[in-house]
């Protein structure tokens, strides 16, 4: 394994299921300097009830601290303070996360919001890029939220930049919504001539065998396959979808953070946190990976190294 990937692999080994000690050292979670960890997490009914449970918030905060960006689905709250309060909890250890949140959406009075929570020490967002994908035909119950991010590396012109598109499909209209999302993916690819990286991530309520719509897009692939992503370990519903030739930054590393295993929780306690496990994939922090033998910078604060 190339030396430059050792840090990423070491962290990823933890994320795929090594037990976590109950007591952890104080201070922000150390993340790899040679990888960007992007996650998706459906936090079932993330609202006032869940935020009122300190033990649940603690687990959620510890989940988030492992990743550079977490795309969240199912924020369901009347209050606008849920995500700000949650990010304060994440930052209680000295971390410096911030967030982007979308509008309440849904066809009934029961509405959901999408959010991105990201580590500002390692990631920047372009505020002008945040929005909801237009859906004039009403093909999507909760049209996805998009935002463009960049890694914070020096020199900045080498930073990996990318769109994230956060989605939670309607389980009653999955094939139709996946068709619509393949159109969304293409439109995001064309949104900016200077941006070729699109990562669509979230709760698709479907696994790879149902991804025929995505497969019509040249080069499209996905991170998660062959494992379950829900807390009960019965379904594969969550994923990250991107086009491989364009997003060559993908390091080929991905995982499912199993809440029961990672936090030593019995099923009932894990379900209190969510009925979904977070899923993640690792990307290189530089726009397109350097050739073997070429020096490359890492994330903020890291010394440059050679492979």
């Amino acid at each position: 394994m190339a030396r430059g990937l050792v840090a990423v692999v070491a962290v990823c080994a933890w994320l795929v299921g090594a037990p976590v000690p109950v007591a952890r050292a104080a201070g922000p979670t150390v993340k790899p300097w040679d990888g960007v960890l992007i996650a998706s997490f459906n936090i079932q009914v993330f609202g006032e009830s869940k935020m009122a449970k300190a033990h649940v918030v603690e687990v959620l905060a510890r989940v988030v601290r492992n990743f550079d960006i977490v795309a969240i689905q199912e924020v369901r709250a009347k209050s606008d303070s849920i995500i700000p309060d949650f990010v304060r909890a994440v930052n209680a250890d000295g971390s410096r996360y911030h967030y982007v949140i979308g509008p309440r959406q849904g066809r009934t009075v029961s509405k959901e919001q999408y959010a991105f929570v990201y580590d500002t020490d390692r990631i920047e967002v372009d505020p002008s890029s945040v929005g909801i994908v237009p859906d004039p035909g009403g093909r999507l119950h909760r049209p996805p939220m998009h935002a463009r991010f960049r890694t914070r590396i020096k020199p900045a012109e080498m930073a990996f930049t990318f769109w994230l598109v956060d989605i939670h499909t309607d389980p009653d209209e999955v094939p139709q919504e996946l068709d619509a999302l393949s159109d969304v993916f293409r439109s995001m690819q064309a949104a900016r001539p200077d941006e070729d990286d699109v990562i669509l991530l979230g709760d698709l309520n479907a696994g790879p065998p149902q991804f025929s719509s995505f497969q019509r897009i040249p080069g499209v692939g996905w991170a998660v396959a062959g494992v379950t992503t829900n807390t009960r370990r019965t379904k594969t519903y969550d994923n990250l979808v991107f086009a491989r030739p364009a997003t060559a930054e993908y390091l080929g590393l991905w995982g499912v953070l199993d809440l029961q295993h990672a936090f030593g929780l019995p099923l009932d306690n894990a379900l209190e946190v969510s009925d979904h496990n977070p899923v993640w994939a690792a990307f290189h922090p530089c726009e397109s990976r350097p050739a073997p033998g070429q020096a490359f910078p890492g994330m903020a604060g890291a010394p440059p190294t050679r492979r």
């Binding site: 009830s49 369901r76 066809r107 009075v109 029961s110 035909g137």
Partner: protein, 169 residues
């Protein structure tokens, strides 16, 4: 599901009708966490979508989204709830009838009426969708679907047209 699971769901259903809102909210949350094991509680959860307490409504709606198809013996109760004046109750009753599929053919006329005249557009749309799920057994709804296929609401028009092709004839 073993017998202890049934007893748990039964106990939760009793608490879902409690006079205390906190108890109802906790019950709704627990039923949501039960996932598909709570499918026998379908009609009760639909009814809970009309609860006075926000938390009960949110957990009930979340539970229904993940519940899967209801048991066949729930059709009669769901058909009654589909006529509710509460849009969230009606929406979920209609959705569960759609998930029932062909077995809900007896509700085709009711659903056709909702396609034509439900006050809430989301209920009209879901009724069209549900008729498509019922399929050929929903032939009584053809006229209503044909009218809706020309509606100015693009989603209603599309769902009605799709349902017409599935109902056939």
């Amino acid at each position: 599901m073993d017998n202890s699971g049934n007893q748990d769901i039964a106990a939760l259903l009793r608490r879902l009708s409690a006079t205390n809102a906190d108890e109802r909210a906790e019950a709704a949350e627990a039923l949501c966490r039960a996932g598909e094991a709570a499918s026998g509680a379908a009609a009760d959860l639909v009814r809970a979508c009309g609860d006075a307490d926000d938390r009960v409504r949110e957990w009930a709606a979340a539970a229904l989204e993940e519940l899967g198809p209801p048991p066949p013996d729930a059709t009669k109760n769901l058909a009654e709830l589909a006529g509710s004046s509460d849009p969230l109750v009606a929406y979920w009753a209609v959705t569960l009838l759609g998930r029932t599929g062909a077995s809900a053919a007896s509700t085709a006329t009711l659903l056709a009426g909702l396609v034509d005249a439900a006050v809430d557009i989301a209920v009209r749309q879901r009724a069209a969708w549900a008729l498509g799920k019922i399929g050929p057994g929903a032939s009584a709804a053809r006229d209503a679907l044909a009218r809706a296929a020309g509606n100015s609401d693009p989603r209603l028009a599309r769902l009605a047209a799709e349902a017409l092709s599935l109902v056939g004839g």
